[in-house]
């Protein structure tokens, strides 16, 4: 009479009705068991549990979502070509941090890639159709139309890093880039260095802008003149670090320290300096940023600024869930940490 688990076959899955009949209770009671079990007698609870096990029932989330208006899942949206992120160690930490933080609430995370314009359209539609309750946005560059669109559609949204183009109406969580940069440059100054170069990040990203700002602020405080020949830009890649270092050596041969806005770029910088016969840190002190695995993989190990990626991810999730719960957008800025190693 009872049918065994419908292995293989493609028959209709059991509904809450089937479970109710099997357990000898009503739909309502089954639903209550499913949603926390309040106001359910022990006997009913047990009968329902057994019936669920016997029928192999799983709730149909479409039906549930239709009425609750919730999907109980959140999206992790990348609006740039994936490779950029996948090769970034910080990204992996961020992603697994978010996954874990959400896991505590039993919420699955869906990674959505929207590298092309076409993809963005499709994904935006998917999101606004209510398939996720909120979005964790990782898109470093400014002028991202997706963020604006989602915000307009009223989708709860938390960005990683301050979105440049948007107003203050969108939540974000960011490390205190400027303060981190200040710590590093202040450290270099305290070592007696005065011809301090900088390889910035892309200047259309908040990180790029802020870290450069911190650099300039400290020089101003210290009464050191800002020399444009000591400032070059990169794109956070190792290769751009090499290019930047070569440019700096050519433009300012008397450079005695360099602040590099990412460890990956610093890796490239170190390679070029060593090739050029410069001793690190004796001739040129090198400061990185991120405290990524690259920082310790390299010789000499990098003095760097640790970004609190673990806290960033948990904060992003916290703010997003709060916003889904109806709270207003919020900005969270987290402190960075100075890590002294051998390169300075």
């Amino acid at each position: 009479m009872t049918m065994s688990s419908n292995s293989g076959g493609r028959r209709k899955p059991p509904t809450i009705h089937d479970v109710a009949r099997e357990a000898g209770v009503s739909r309502g009671t089954v639903s209550r068991v499913l949603n926390g079990g309040h106001y359910v007698s022990p006997a009913a609870q047990e009968a329902v549990d057994a019936a669920i096990r016997r029928t192999g029932y799983v709730v149909n989330r479409h039906a549930r979502s239709l009425i609750t208006g919730r999907s109980d899942s959140v999206g992790f949206l990348l609006t740039e070509p994936q490779e950029r992120f996948f090769e970034d160690p910080n990204f992996n930490v961020l992603l697994s941090g978010c996954t874990q933080a959400l896991a505590a609430h039993d919420i699955p995370l869906l990674l959505m890639l929207a590298g092309t314009k076409d993809e963005r359209r499709r994904i935006t539609r998917y999101i606004t159709a209510g398939h996720v309750d909120g979005v964790l946005l990782v898109s470093s560059h400014s002028g991202d139309p997706v963020a604006e669109e989602l915000r307009e559609a009223g989708v709860p949204l938390v960005a990683c890093g301050k979105p440049i183009g948007l107003g203050s109406k969108v939540s974000y969580v960011a490390a205190d880039d400027r303060d981190g940069a200040r710590d590093m440059v202040r450290h270099l100054v305290s070592l007696g260095r005065r011809r301090i170069g900088v390889v910035t990040g892309p200047l259309d990203t908040p990180g790029g802008v802020e870290r450069l700002a911190g650099y300039k602020e400290v020089l101003a405080e210290a009464g050191v003149e800002v020399d444009e020949r000591l400032i070059v830009s990169g794109d956070y890649s190792r290769a751009s670090g090499e290019a930047g270092a070569e440019r700096l050596l050519a433009q300012a041969p008397d450079m005695d320290a360099v602040f590099v806005a990412s460890d990956l770029m610093a890796q490239g910088v170190l390679a070029v300096l060593q090739r050029a016969g410069k001793r690190v840190p004796e001739d040129i002190a090198v400061g990185g940023f991120d405290d990524s695995p690259a920082a310790t993989a390299v010789t000499p190990a990098l003095t760097t600024i640790r970004q609190p990626w673990d806290r960033i991810s948990t904060e992003m999730v916290r703010v997003l869930l709060a916003q889904i719960g109806g709270e207003d957008p919020a900005a969270v800025i987290l402190p960075t940490e100075f890590v002294r190693r051998e390169s300075t």
Copy 2:
């Protein structure tokens, strides 16, 4: 009277009803417009289009899915720690290939990570609850419980690479690893090499097993004795390639060629050989596998076996969609391509 696009606010989104009223037609007509526009008069079509634009309507996919039983999205499931994949260039090709192939059908792809046991439970529940129509599974290792679970639940499933543990009831798309390995080893033999070493992949993966099998087959054909000292295993990582090469050099100093089951490992092998003062290819010819970016990034450029990742992804999508459409599971094996470069 008409309300402007509800920017910012959190009010109820418009339903198909609102659109129908706005356009002066019935729900049915709006629905027909939404689903291809057959049996709709030009006048109605236009009125509905206008109404949709005016109200900013987007279909509620939960409601649609509830009745159609479809979610019009597919999942891309990783059942292993993410890092393994993210740092693998093949993986990126595969992922974007699938995304593109699905885009042609206007189907969004959801990347789901299930590295931990807990995650796996959550994701399995999510999938079986009908949130995706099918799953593209990437899990190289055998004995993956998720695949079995999904298959039992009747979820359309296509694996990348032959799943070892499972029966023939699950679809998969794979490159012809054995044949590719045969091509490479035959090439080495044709160069006159007889002491041919091999660094295999993990032997609990189909790739690891098959490539080793191809190696042994060719040696048997060529009448060359299989020497266990010439066989070591790696895990596809660069580091394991280095370790493997060191072991081989120690165990079989007379080795005159080595077939390495991945380009990344081959990179490590090359480094060790050069450090040991061996000339490649003069002293030792090196053959890789994958034709990944690493193959050309290295000196000398690697002779290798190209895996047809672009075709693999399109085939995976094709098979999955067919299966969602009701067809039976299928296995697809794609030919590899021999690429001659400077390392042999």
